[in-house]
Amino acid sequence: MTGGGDEGDGENGHDGGDLAALRGADDATVYQPAEDSGLLAEAAIEEAHGRVLEVGTGSGWVAERVATERDLDVVGSDRNPHAARQARERGVEAVVADLLSPFREDAFDAVCFNPPYLPTDPDNEWDDWMEHALSGGESGRELIEPFLADVGRVLAPDGVVLLLVSSLTGYDEVLALVEEAGFDHEAVVEESFPFETLTVLALRRA
């Protein structure tokens, strides 16, 4: 979800919270594909196999690309019902869910997640669907932590997790959580933008 230079706003020095506020300024209710989505799709098309889950699918764009280009069964879940509807309109098998909670043990060979990761000042949260899509709480890792703690449950034994990490979220802190959850990690794709560096990590059981 990089702040990207496309609009050429030329403003520097935004911290993550301001950036989140900028991105939330329009009244859309569903996160639409951006640079991070493109990177996650690229990595997922390369690494995914078998039955695939995309957590926080948003508009369903990444899930649709993986399903089409790799001819795999992909489930897209989002806690935002508006997002689930958009994903379904793209032909994605859509579910409204909180992270991984309604999925069975060993159910998926690949799990993709582009988490809401912008660190947000609690006084500056705006409490709508776009905030849920962008804000990772004060640390930026509020959803990455419970995701990593539970993803091993739904992942098949030889499964792979594709997790998008932004430098705004704290790369080393995320790696520490990954290791704590018992996964090896490998950077599959990486790209730098004016405000952040985005990396997609492939996680496999250590």
């Binding site: 019902p81 579910v95 409204v96 869910a97 999925f103 069975r104 159910a107 998926f108």
Partner: protein, 64 residues
């Protein structure tokens, strides 16, 4: 939702199996119905082809 989704979903509260009751379906998909937990009895709606598997407390929030 396709009926094959039943292979990968469970009750978000206790991870027990769900039972599917179909109200409306076409050739490929269940369009409306109810998923009921075989353990705790909690129900989850399927509307417009999309199951809502949020735990009940989050479902209230989402409707607001």
């Amino acid at each position: 939702m396709k009926e094959s989704l039943m292979d990968v979903i469970c009750c978000p509260l206790d991870k027990a199996a769900l039972e599917l009751d179909v109200d409306e379906a076409d050739d490929e998909e269940v369009l409306a119905g109810t998923l009921t937990c075989t353990e705790c009895g909690e129900t989850y709606p399927i509307e417009d082809g999309i199951p809502n598997l949020l735990p009940p407390d989050m479902r209230e929030e989402a409707a607001a």
